[in-house]
């Protein structure tokens, strides 16, 4: 009764317990420091926003799993990730009832109608955000400054609006705190509409002053690095997105440095880092082929810069990633790696064996080939 020295079995030979639940759990853990810093920045309103949005996502997911119309389980953490990411992309003073609408739409339209985890075409969190962007364009563009005094005892007035009702005007509230309206604008909006640039350290850490960006890019990069090192996320996608965005921005900056901002500002001034690290790398909605990842990332980076520069919106990451998601099945198709032993598709190498598997043969090789060696009757 000794244990066998050699274990013989067929592939896959992966020994580590790499399940969907485990990867998702690690993503949630890596999101927690970002959420914590976000709460420190914006106080009780940000906390309430995160709780409400995540709870809505979980409850909606629970409902659809109970009715049996959706695959997956609540314990696979995917709805929690959707909720946390969605809350991080919304302004801190976003009315809580609108946050609940966003969470509901994210799970229903982003995930449940496609059949649950693993079947969705678009990133659920971004679907939810795109819906509220279209439904409540004023509220989603209303940012408030971070590190206000009394942020842990007092809600931002807009966030506690009654359901279906117009939220309170934050401009009046900010005036009572001796802040001008410009303090509430995001760096991108400031650049786009007022031509004001922010300095580099502020952009990276969002620690100093009343900067109204979302989560700190440096922290997001750090948490993303952890995921990439543990191989829970493919490093190619963020690198491709940031590289392509930087290259496009740098080219435009080189052409006309008075009109376009520098590439560094482009990379760190908005949601690009969060989008590149956490949204675009969603395994369901991004290509699986390595070459496809580069194409996908490059497309998103290019689109982000183009939307930021040439459209009416100050921020373009959301639409860029959604368009990238839509393109990823096509990207996967055209970047399929070659099967070992076969030449480039379309021309069969001379001297290859007559046997071609059914899937490999596809349409390139006539079906007669299969019958050639059949015994004659």
């Amino acid at each position: 009764m000794s244990t066998p020295l050699i274990e013989i079995r067929s592939a896959p030979h992966v020994k580590a317990p790499r399940t969907v639940e485990m990867i998702m759990r690690h993503v949630v853990w890596s999101l927690l420091p970002i959420c914590a810093f976000y709460v420190v920045q914006y106080g009780i309103s940000a906390l309430a926003s995160i709780v409400v949005v995540t709870a809505t996502c979980l409850l909606t997911e629970k409902f659809f799993i109970r009715t049996g119309t959706q695959s997956g389980q609540l314990t696979d953490y995917s709805a929690a990730i959707t909720g946390l990411l969605l809350a991080l992309t919304l302004p801190p003073g976003f009315p809580l009832w609108m946050g609940a609408v966003a969470g509901l739409v994210a799970i229903v339209l982003g995930k449940a109608i496609f059949g649950g985890i693993g079947h969705n075409l678009f990133n659920p969190a971004l679907v939810g955000r795109a819906f509220v962007q279209a439904a409540f364009p004023t509220s989603i563009a209303t940012y408030t400054p971070s590190f206000l005094t009394g942020r842990f005892t007092e809600f931002i007035p807009s966030s506690v609006a009654w359901p279906l009702m117009i939220p309170a005007d934050t401009v009046v509230w900010m005036q009572s705190k001796q802040l001008d309206a410009l303090a509430g604008a995001t760096p991108l909006a400031k650049w786009k509409f007022d031509g004001v640039m922010a300095n580099a350290v502020e952009l990276l850490t969002s620690l100093s002053g009343h900067m109204a960006v979302g989560p700190a890019p440096a922290l997001v990069l750090l948490c993303g690095l952890y995921l990439a090192l543990r191989r829970f996320m493919d490093w190619r996608i963020p690198v491709a997105i940031l590289g392509s965005a930087a290259l496009t921005a740098w080219l435009l900056y080189a052409v006309d440095s008075t009109r376009y901002p520098n590439p560094f500002f482009m990379l760190f001034s908005g949601g690009l880092i969060l989008g590149a690290v956490y949204m675009a790398t969603d395994m369901v909605t991004s290509p699986v082929t390595p070459r496809g990842m580069w194409v996908y990332g490059a497309l998103i980076g290019l689109l982000t810069v183009v939307i930021r520069y040439y459209s009416g919106l100050p921020e373009g990451v959301m639409y860029a990633i959604l368009l990238g998601n839509a393109a990823s099945p096509l990207i996967e198709r055209i970047t399929q790696p070659l099967t070992f032993g076969r030449g480039a598709p379309g021309r069969s190498r001379e001297g290859t064996p007559g046997y071609v598997s059914r899937t490999d043969a596809d349409a390139a090789i006539p079906k007669k080939r299969f019958l050639r060696n059949k015994p004659k009757k």
């Binding site: 279209a134 439904a135 009702m165 117009i166």
Partner: protein, 216 residues
């Protein structure tokens, strides 16, 4: 033979009439005439006007097509139907212009486009051309009313969420936050999809109940 409910026996004509309202509702079951369904349903009143205009055109053209069904040569029947439908659309067009210019402007080109509504042509070809004038007219009327019902169900939801009103009456007071997306074209798709989902759930539940009843 011509019977109506309450007279003792319910016959073919009642079935013809009810077919379009529920069982084969043009909007939610047959999914025909999507162009006006998605485009003009920004408010309940627009939906009612559009629906009633289509109802008139359908009932009248189905009746006339049925009346002329033996005279129309088979080879040019579609063109003939279109001419008949276009006649009634012109009547409706001028009528709405005379009744309410505001409504005429709100509905825009979609009144004239009733001519191209596949629902009207479809009923003329599939039903009116094979049936007697009375059942054909009743079927057209029922289909039209079913279409109106569908448009109002979509338009009502879009108006409530998009403007906080229903038929112009404010529901939530002055402080209502309008959902901008609901009065834009995507809102039409969202609400349409939502209703289709509701009906699919109802149908699935009813089928399950029927299976369960059979088993016991």
């Amino acid at each position: 033979m011509n019977s109506f409910p309450g007279t003792g026996y319910e016959g073919k004509n009642w079935t013809e009439f009810m077919e379009g309202i529920w069982e084969r509702n043009p909007v939610f079951v047959m999914v025909l005439g999507m162009c006006p369904t998605l485009a003009v349903t920004v408010s309940a009143i627009n939906s009612i006007s559009m629906g009633l205009a289509t109802t008139f055109v359908m009932a009248a053209s189905c009746w006339l097509v049925s009346l002329l069904r033996h005279q129309i040569p088979k080879e040019v029947r579609i063109a003939t139907y279109i001419v008949i439908i276009a006649t009634f659309v012109t009547v409706v067009d001028y009528a709405i212009q005379a009744i309410s210019l505001d409504m005429y402007e709100a509905l825009g080109a979609y009144i004239q486009l009733i001519v191209a509504n596949c629902l009207v042509l479809g009923r003329a070809e599939a039903h009116a051309a094979r049936n007697a004038p009375l059942p054909a007219a009743l079927n057209g009327l029922g289909m039209g009313l079913g279409f109106t019902l569908g448009l109002v169900m979509i338009g009502g939801v879009r108006e409530i969420l998009g403007a906080g009103t229903l038929l112009g009456f404010s529901l939530f007071g002055a402080n209502f936050q309008p959902w901008v997306v609901m009065v834009l074209p995507p809102g039409g798709f969202f609400v349409m999809g939502g209703w289709l989902l509701v009906f699919a759930l109802v149908r699935a539940r009813r089928e399950r109940a029927a299976v369960a009843a059979q088993e016991t």
